[in-house]
């Protein structure tokens, strides 16, 4: 039985401890990511840029026409950022560019030269999920999950600048992120819950264990 090759550094055990979720495994099909270096097409204008992605400084040769989303997904293997419309209409591709949420489909990679990008893959710190990720899990914020990375990044930017937003502020900050499953209520609840977590306990898995006991989950 091939085991899930969850990318990143978060072990399932940590996830489970952190959220109070029962230890259920979901077994994915074999890994389907070919590792290939970024490749620009011959004869197409390209540029070497320096960009810090999830804390890691990179030098990458990009075609001038590549969007940030394209660079991340196809050439840096960061497929957590989704492309839902490629026209700045849906928000699935939202990443933080120098800390601010932007549509990575509507910004060229060359424009990110010298700047920092944070994607969903950069939300967790080592083994610890971001409080927003905890809250998203507990409040069933993702349904199909395709818009989730974008919702998370918009929420992250909001909480970075406004630690205790009102419901209306959450809706306003996330209004550029469409959810066709229409789980909007859950997303807002989850962001408010993350904001309400006491600072000290936000990324602490003890809270999760306690909740698990109270909830009586196996």
């Amino acid at each position: 039985m091939p085991k899930s090759k969850a990318k990143g550094r978060i072990s399932r055990r940590k996830f489970i401890e952190g959220t109070g979720v029962a230890v259920v495994a979901a077994t994915a099909a074999p890994a389907i990511h070919a590792q290939s270096p970024p490749e620009t097409a011959p004869g197409v204008p390209h540029t070497a840029i320096r960009v810090t992605v999830n804390g890691k400084a990179q030098r990458i040769e990009v075609e001038d026409r590549w969007s940030i989303a394209e660079m991340l997904r196809d050439h840096l293997g960061l497929t957590g950022t989704k492309i839902g419309c490629d026209r700045g209409e849906c928000g699935a591709c939202t990443v933080l560019l120098d800390g601010k949420p932007v549509y990575s489909c509507s910004n060229l990679a060359v424009w990110a030269d010298g700047r920092t990008i944070q994607t969903v893959e950069g939300l967790a710190r080592g083994d610890e999920l971001d409080p927003l990720q905890h809250a998203f899990i507990e409040h069933d914020a993702p349904q199909c999950g395709f818009c989730t990375s974008g919702q998370l990044m918009s929420a992250k930017a909001l909480l970075n600048s406004n630690a205790h937003p009102t419901r209306e502020e959450v809706q306003a900050a996330m209004t550029g992120n469409i959810c066709r499953c229409s789980n909007y209520n859950r997303y807002v609840e989850a962001v408010l819950a993350a904001a309400a977590m006491p600072a000290g306990k936000r990324s602490n898995s003890t809270a999760g264990r306690k909740r698990a006991k109270q909830g009586g989950l196996s």
Binding site: G8, V21, A22, V24, G84, L123, D140, S182, N185, L217
Partner: protein
């Protein structure tokens, strides 16, 4: 009345999704994330004309572009896309494919709508593929087009198929859909009042967040297809049949999928096109559709025109209902085009005649509760209107006239509709919020309340599951589900844990891969929990028995149990789920803005397997319904037949700011037929939503909005 259900150990408790970690860390692999060594990228050239005959396609310049590895057109990719022309509301099968005269191919000539595929290119990168499309020269003979179903049936209308625009059924007959009971003419004669009206509903797109993508890879004559589908088993069989391969030579994988809502159970033309390109190029190919292509190339809900005639007696008892309906199918009849809802009323005389009509718009098909949200909007707006005209409270009118037996003949397996309505009305404070005199609020900003009710199929049927246990007591649940977003993987895990009497932590679910999973009906028709759930329970019982007899296996051995039950409902009964939605809207009559201020859903879905995900399902359907009622549309230019508002911006899909807090109340009952009492859920929450919003708008402004969506031009126009 429902009784209190006995609590279970695992099922019925709010449980986060078993794959929630992947969903919040970006680690879930959706089809578009698949990248294979040497993979090419594909793009599709689509017809810019609503109706045209292709005289000639010259692909030589595209083929000559460096980086282009394969180009396909009707000439070298002439597969019948069976599921694209099912010609009815039934599951596509071999018999239908053989019979159907009006067949859809992967590429068609003539092309019948703006967006009909004409050619496709695979190249070393997506930009080259896209550049190559612009080098393909197509010589079109533009034909006259027709966009509206009623116009398409008029004499002299452009003919989209040689047999005419009345779409054939699987037996190649021009047969309207419908039902007949009693004699409506006699019913109208016996009525004290007869009311007539016309309602219409718009094409709304499924618009699931993940745009269509497909990756195809050949190894000899074996094909692996990564594609977004909620029905891997159906999809595999469809692909195999269309390409002329044995089922065993095709493997369909869908690990994560960005929403379904009804347009992803069967295979798609994209699968056939991608497989053809991969074969020709001798390399794996990934096809990606743009959002606009997804809007016009994949299907959405069929638009309808509905003419009602309703007869009632002085005391408000229904005597006769007649519906003459027309559904716009687009250029191909992918699904039924039915218009549902009349069966929700108890009435001795009923006649419905529904004509599925070809038009040169984008193709229509199943979308969350296929024939109901639009049909319910029509009939429940009509009946709401009749109630007011009879000076009755719409809730009282419904309680008097709603269905209490399926089709007024067969019994339901259990019946909680009245309880849903009564408890909802109480919790919503209907009497307080509903305006006896519609539109009576002073000033330009008016509130009002509306409601609609729902009964939706919840049948049982065949599905499979395989369970295995290893020496460490780990249980592997192999099910052919994808989890389109509703939480099927988690539900299957919960059911298995309950049935095996082990903690959920010992369960590992294996899903979304025909190479490793048995048949499942697929996530459409709200059937997975019931049908695949039963199979899981049966396999679990077998496995438990084996363990009791033999103990846990030793070393590297497994014990395996497989089940494929086909349960049946006894005694000719009908199994349905019930619900009622109560809505308060605020309408700014001067700005034409309608906004939902309170929304309550009451649903009996049997036992709720996982309240955490279940509530999300109900909320989602209601909010989608609000969007369909108030915003969504695909506007066409009449002169050219081109769509103008494809995409999230154009179709005005709801945003965070558009939605109210939706309250959800479950009435849990157990009729003995569901796995642990479960009934269907996913689709049912959208079914009454549109009508409920429309009825609330009427109550607020005193004008009946008969054409969807209820946009500001219509609100302002109605009050001018």
């Amino acid at each position: 009345m429902s009784e209190t259900l006995k609590p279970l150990k695992t099922v019925g408790h709010p449980t986060p999704r078993i794959d929630a970690l992947e969903r919040v860390t970006g680690a879930g692999h959706y089809t578009g994330d698949v990248k294979l060594p040497g993979m090419l990228y594909a793009r599709v050239l689509r017809s810019p004309h609503a109706h045209a005959r292709i005289r000639k396609i010259d692909v030589s310049k595209a083929e000559a572009l460096p980086g282009v590895k394969a180009v396909v057109t009707l000439e070298n990719c002439n597969f019948v896309w069976g599921a694209g022309s099912v010609a009815g509301g039934i599951q596509y099968n071999d018999e239908i494919k053989k019979n159907t005269r009006q067949r859809r191919h992967a590429f068609n000539n003539p092309v019948r709508f703006v967006g009909d595929p004409v050619a496709a290119v695979a190249a070393t990168d997506r930009h080259i593929a896209e550049d190559a499309l612009h080098l393909i020269a197509v010589d079109y003979e533009v034909l006259p087009h027709v966009l509206e179903p009623e116009e398409a049936l008029k004499p002299g209308a452009p003919q989209i198929w040689p047999e005419g625009n009345f779409a054939l059924n699987p037996r190649n007959e021009q047969q309207p859909m419908g039902q007949k009971r009693g004699n409506v003419e006699e019913g109208f004669r016996a009525s004290d009042h007869v009311f007539e009206d016309r309602y219409s509903t718009a094409f709304v797109h499924n618009a699931q967040m993940e745009p269509r993508a497909c990756v195809a890879q050949w190894e000899g004559d074996k094909l692996t297809v990564y594609t977004p589908t909620g029905g891997i088993a159906n999809c595999r069989h469809d692909i195999a049949r269309d390409l002329g391969l044995p089922d065993d030579n095709v493997r369909v994988i869908c690990q994560y999928m960005g929403g379904n809502f009804g347009n992803k159970n069967q295979n798609q033309d994209a699968d056939l096109i991608t497989a053809s390109l991969a074969k020709l190029a001798g390399a794996p190919v990934k096809l990606e559709l743009s959002r606009k292509e997804d809007f016009i190339g994949m299907h959405g809900r069929w638009p309808t025109v509905q003419y009602y005639k309703v007869g009632v007696s002085n005391d408000g008892t229904l005597k006769a209902i007649q519906l003459r309906g027309f559904s716009g199918m687009g250029g191909y009849r992918k699904n039924s085009g039915a218009i549902g809802g009349i069966e929700c009323y108890q009435c001795p005389n009923i006649e419905t005649v529904i004509t599925p009509v070809y038009t040169n718009k984008t193709v229509s098909g199943n979308f969350r509760g296929p024939e109901y949200p639009q049909g319910y909007f029509g009939i429940q707006s009509m009946m709401d209107d009749v109630a007011y005209k009879m000076k009755m409270d719409p809730v009282d009118f419904v309680l008097k006239n709603m269905t209490r037996k399926a089709n007024d003949s067969a019994e339901y397996t259990n019946y909680t509709l009245e309880e849903c309505i009564r408890r909802g009305a109480e919790a919503f404070e209907w009497k307080k919020r509903w305006r006896q005199s519609p539109g009576s609020d002073p000033g330009p900003v008016k509130r009002g309340a509306g409601f609609a009710f729902m009964s939706f199929r919840s049948g049982v049927g065949h599905s499979n599951a395989i369970l295995r246990v290893d020496s460490k007591g780990r249980y592997f649940v192999h099910v052919g589900v994808t989890d389109v977003g509703a939480g099927a993987k988690t539900t299957m895990g919960l059911i298995a844990a309950e049935a095996l009497e082990v903690p959920l932590s010992q369960i590992e679910v294996v899903w979304g891969d025909t190479g490793r999973c048995p048949f499942s009906v697929g996530e459409s028709g709200s059937r997975t929990t019931i049908m695949t759930g039963h199979a899981v329970i049966e396999a679990a019982q077998d496995l438990k028995k084996q363990i009791a007899e033999k103990g846990l296996p030793k070393g590297s051995d497994f014990l395996t149990a497989s089940a494929g039950p086909t349960p049946r409902i006894q005694g000719g009964k009908v199994r349905n789920t019930f619900g009622a939605h109560f809505v308060e809207v605020e309408v700014d009559t001067e700005l034409g803005r309608a906004h939902v201020t309170k929304y309550l859903c009451v649903h009996d879905c049997g036992r709720v397997m996982n309240p955490l995900t279940g509530i999300s399902q109900i909320k989602g359907g209601a909010i989608m319904g609000i969007g369909m009622a108030l915003h969504e549309d695909l506007v066409y230019d009449r002169a050219s037949g081109a769509p103008l508002s494809a995409g999230y911006y154009g179709a005005r899909i709801s945003t965070h700011r558009d939605v109210p807090d939706v309250e959800v109340m479950f009435i849990e009952s157990d009729d003995g037929y569901g796995p642990y009492g479960a009934k269907s859920m996913g689709e049912s929450s959208k079914v009454p939503a549109v009508a409920a919003v429309g009825n609330a708008v009427f109550n607020a402004i005193g004008r009946r909005m008969k054409d969807l969506p209820i946009t500001k031009d219509k609100i302002i126009g109605a009050l001018a």
